[in-house]
């Protein structure tokens, strides 16, 4: 399992391109179980949400799994109101994530 610790903002022009690049590189290097730790992400906008979805579909189309852990309240709220809780597998902690990856 690859754990990616992301921090700061995931917004247009800031963290979103970095996230896309990181996840794509992991997939290209053969990683198929990716856990995004968003504990230090205090802000995400619609572009950032789009990048999370893009990362998710990139991993899925390589037959992998992308999961999220440690969401801050703001990120959790946005994922909730955009109904993406039905898409993303949000894990309570790393240990649970390890167990949940097949």
């Amino acid at each position: 399992m690859a754990v990616v610790d992301f921090s700061g903002k995931i917004t247009l022009g800031e963290g979103s391109a970095t996230l896309r690049k990181l996840v794509r590189e992991l997939v290209e290097n053969g990683r198929r179980k990716i856990l995004l730790n968003l504990a230090d992400v205090d802000y995400i906008d619609s572009s950032g949400i789009g990048e999370l979805v893009g990362a998710y579909t990139t991993v899925r189309s390589a037959s992998g799994e992308l999961k999220l852990v440690h969401l801050t309240k703001r990120v959790r709220d946005i994922i909730q109101i955009t109904r993406l809780f039905t898409v993303f597998d949000v894990q309570p902690d790393e240990a649970s994530a390890v167990r949940s990856f097949q």
Binding site: T11, L12, G13, D45, S46, S47, I49, G50, E51, V53, G54, Y56, T57, R74, I78, I81, T82, R83, L84, T86, V87
Partner: protein, 149 residues
Amino acid sequence: MAPANQRLEVTLETQLESVDRAENIVMHVAEAAGFGEDDVHKLGMSVREAVINAYNYGNAQDPQKKIHLVVEFEPERMIVHIVDEGHGFELSDVPDPLAEENLLRTSGRGIFLMRAFMDELAVRRGPGGGADLVMTKKLPHRVGDNGQR
């Protein structure tokens, strides 16, 4: 509390930096108007999304075009306009990002977030024919003002 009928107008370039700039301006104004941290964040983010919309779609990233930010106060509410110089659009034409078939789209959530975070959202035709995105949020009542302003 911001006095009634106060108005602020800023002309922004069609560039990525305008997104942060507009967000910061509105957050400062909202803070000065007495909004709490959560509402200041919601107002800032709604303006951010509106300016991204104007930058990407309205003005199609054309540096010759401008984005106009207007903040107005009425006795009970703060009104923010983001006006672009594009061709305008109808809210009813914006796909629902919560629909099953749109959940995995990587864009198209901006308008939805503005609606979720503001009390009212409308799209009018701006003076130059572009979109005038009008967002409204009720002003907070201060403790001890008994609803009087």
